[in-house]
Amino acid sequence: METLRQLLVSREISELSRVTHLLDEPEQLAAAVGNVLPDAAARASHAQLGEALAPAVEMAAQRSIQKNPHTLTDILYPVFLPAIRKSIGEKIDQTFQSLNESLRHIFTWHGLKWRFEAWRTGTSFSEVVLNHSLVYRVEHVFLISRSSGLLIAHVTAENATSEDPQLISSMLSAIQDFVKDSFNEKEQSGLDTIRFGELRLWSEVGPFATLVAVIRGNPPEELHEVIRDVLLRIHDESSQALERFDGDSSKLLGVETQLQTCVELQHADSNRGFPWLVVSAILLVLIAAGGWFFLSWQSGQRWQAYLSRLATQPGIVVSEQKISGGQFYIAGLRDPLTADPQSLLSGTQVDPARVHSNWQFYQSFEPGFVLKRLTASLAPPASVRLSVVDNRIVAEGEATTTWINQARAAAQQLSAGGPVFDISGVRDVSAEERWQAYVSRLETQPGLIVADQNVRDGQFYITGLRDPLAADPQSLLAGTQVDPARVHASWQFYQSLEPQFVLKRLTASLAPPDSVRLSIVDGRIVAAGEATTAWINRARSAAQQLSAGGPVFDISGVHDVSPEERWQAYVSRLETQPGIIVAQQNVRDGQFYITGLRDPLAADPQSLLSGTQVDPARVHASWQFYQSLEPAFVLKRLTASLYPPHTVRLSIVNDRIVAEGEAPDTWIDRARAAARQLSAGGPEFDISKVRDVSPDARAAEHWQYYVSRLEAQPGIIVAQQTERGGHFYISGLRDPLAADPQALLSGTDVDPARVHSQWQFYQSLDPKFVVKRLTASLSPPKSIRLSIVQGRIVVVGEASAGWISRAQAAAEQLSADGVVLDVSQLRELNLVELNHLREAIQTTDIFFSSGRVVPGPEQTPVLDRLADQLKEFAENARKAGVTARFMLTGHSDTTGRETANASISAARAETVRALLNKRGVAPELLLVRGAGTFEPAVPENENSRTGNSTNRRVSVTVNLE
């Protein structure tokens, strides 16, 4: 049994004993469990294992920290450090933000307000500043899966828009990855701020999801904490769902409410601002009150205006007026004829509804009102005029006796207190008088003949004749104040033979056409104009009728214009038309036939019909075209066929066609051919006046123009000129003073390179050149003018005698060459002003003591004056074109020997020259001579022993050259 048992279960027993041993031995068991523990832990449910291990792990951590805090700190160090760093960074940012904002607002007006607010609320100033200045709004919040970048949830603020949030969240995480990869950043946190203008993206990274807030404005740094809190809460609540997020956001619907709290974050600046409401309410009240005051003042003003207007109205007396409670009360008297006070209101802008008036009627005695009343009661006839003169009422004119009586009664009534009513100016016009006036009026009417008339018992009887065309006697009654009921008229009709009535009757019976005018000339009726034969016949018979007693009816001035006549007029008009030849024409049965020839360029016969009053329907014309050889038509045809250039003008001269101007030779050839054609019967075509302007001809023409220009030049004589092989040769004489022939070439279109000229100089006797030469040789002074008069050279002016004699010599020379130099009009220089000076100079003497050659000191002023005079004279003479020279002549008295006297006189002159030279007189102008005793100023007599002192002198004479 034991053996069997051992055979069957010995292996199991030994295995069991090994296991029992293993379980009993703790060391063995620990080794065994240690072998499988990692694997078992890995296979166990995470949740259960986590729960089971949590207390032990917590305890272990606690113990570890108690034992040595550094171990755990070292372990956690890599985890904490980034979080701490970030927290500190945010705190610093927050501090800077607060500092920035405080500085920004510290000195502003609202800064002061905020300081007060800080003091009032007991908070720090920087807090208040931040509170006011950080205006922001969270517009979007995205919750993004960290692993896949897929959008878990998205919340938007009101009115905020964005593109597809799914794409945005993916792109955001792509960018996070991009930055992380690009800069090898190992940190677990991602991009935490992206800023774009006003927009900021703040992201908070959690273990499974990233929360991105899109903020517009200026958020405070604390907002980071708020966002982080929200992210933390979301992770707390839905950690597992976030971890397992596979793109199905329906499992995480709850997180949106959390995100919503972020979106609601905003801070709008509490801008209480200016109390607009209160101010506008006050303003409204003020405006209303002001308006009320203004309106009441204005209505008072208007009322006063109305009152003053009433006061100026005649016939209105205001006895009382007042304003009470915005209503106007007025009482008084008014004449019924005055303007209605109520109607005066209109235009014063016073509200009529607020006016309460109480008017009593009275009769005003003001003349104006009395006049009105009289006009109304007396009804004066039109012939009476009432007016107010000096407060009296004056009636003037004509009236019947009855009216005058009425007026007189009214005047008596008025005499009691009213104005005077003066009717003395009204003449009594009795009925008979008016009747006579009526009758005499009738008698002057043409076509009316009064046979008999009389007045019986206040009735008027009249008989007579009247033409039916004359004025109606009855109608003439109107306005005469004759009572028609008292008029008994008996009129017989008759035909008046007065010319104007005959004219009327003729006009009515003959019905003259428009072309006939009837008029009265010296009592005769004259008809003038054009009419048909039928009408003329009728008029003629009327004239015969009238010849028995009536006025003469003269119809000789009416032309018969029967159709035939008009036709003939048309035909003769055609015959005068150039280019139209009437061959035959006749009239048959009222139809007109015409045949003939017409040039196509002639006027259209049909169009000539209009205005002739010939009926075109009755005209049968047959025209053959032909070419007229009349010059006018040939000219037209030539113009059309030859196309003359604009330089050619065609015209008709004495029936010949003449072409003038310039044309190239080809055109001239064509014209010549046309002229030959025309020579057979046509007018002559004269093209001889057309110049050939082919280039060579043109050049030759320019050359000829140049030559003719040269020939016209004074001082140039063309001896010879030819043209050879396109070159031009010219030779001749030219005066050196004449124009340069080469210079004249410019502007002539002649090519200077082709001009070969040869000029010999000569002296031209052309007056112009002679004048030039004379001017150069004679150098005439300014006072001389040389001019050419009819080929003669005339010298006019004043010159010194010397210049005149030179001019005369020149004139003699020139006369030999046939040139006239007229010097007859030269006058010797008239030195009017110089003459006086010359006189003064020549009467001056310098006196000397006996035997002396130097003048005494008393002569110094004389010398001074003389020097000045000499200088002035020399200067003036020079200006006049002459040279003045002064001869100083020394004299002596007769005392002593003659030779000594001669030398002393010369010495005296020399001395004076030296003295004058010393005073600035040019020495070359001073000539010196000694006259000794031969030219005494006073005769010497034998008896005077000492000689005459007057003769011891130096005298001066003036010479002009």
């Binding site: 899966s145 692993s147 896949s148 970048g149 897929l150 959008l151 593109e163 597809d164 799914q166 794409l167 945005i168 993916s170 792109m171 792509a174 960018i175 990855d177 991009f178 992380k180 990869d181 596979d246 793109g247 199905d248 956001s249 329906s250």
Partner: protein, 164 residues
């Protein structure tokens, strides 16, 4: 609402961008591809039982596998491998990109698009090669960005694969 992150992988100039341009909703310009290296588009697909928004991460095509930003694939639930049918080398590039992605983030469903199927005269992938890939159970689509042929089918297929 169900969203899935899908990465489009493929070599340089295989036509990923033009493939999605006409069939997806996009707000970002193609500049993002060259600046950030990724452009994000959205393709909404309605399956019989639900609607899925495919958030397509169009990664910049690089033939150099080394410069591939694999971190962009994190969190993706599917891949679209794009191959240029006229350039056989781009198949190898797409497959190695997928290997890199799966090595990092584990296996995930994918479809393979052989693009430019309209350029038949320059087509360089043999039917045999494609059949061999189909044998592995892969979803293969011959697409044309030009004609839009089968592009919708491919996205629909991928959507049903990732939404299970």
């Amino acid at each position: 609402m169900l969203q899935k992150k899908i990465c489009m992988l493929g070599g340089f100039a295989v036509g990923k961008t033009s493939l999605v341009r006409r069939f997806v909703q996009s707000i970002f310009s193609e500049n993002y591809l060259t600046t950030v290296g990724v452009k994000i588009d959205k393709k909404s697909v309605v399956l019989p039982d639900k609607a899925v928004d495919l958030i397509l991460w169009d990664l910049a095509g690089e033939d150099d596998i080394g410069s591939f930003r694999v971190s962009y694939v994190r969190g993706a639930t599917g891949l679209v491998l794009v191959v240029d049918g006229t350039r056989p080398a781009t198949l190898a590039v797409a497959l190695s990109l997928r290997e890199r992605a799966e090595a990092e983030f584990g296996a995930m469903p994918f479809v393979v698009l052989f693009n430019k199927s309209d350029l038949t005269d320059r087509w360089a992938i043999s039917d045999g090669e494609i059949d061999e890939l189909r044998q592995r159970g892969w979803q293969i689509y011959l697409t044309s960005a030009l004609s839009g042929e089968r592009v919708d089918d491919a996205f629909r297929q991928l959507a049903s694969m990732v939404a299970k």
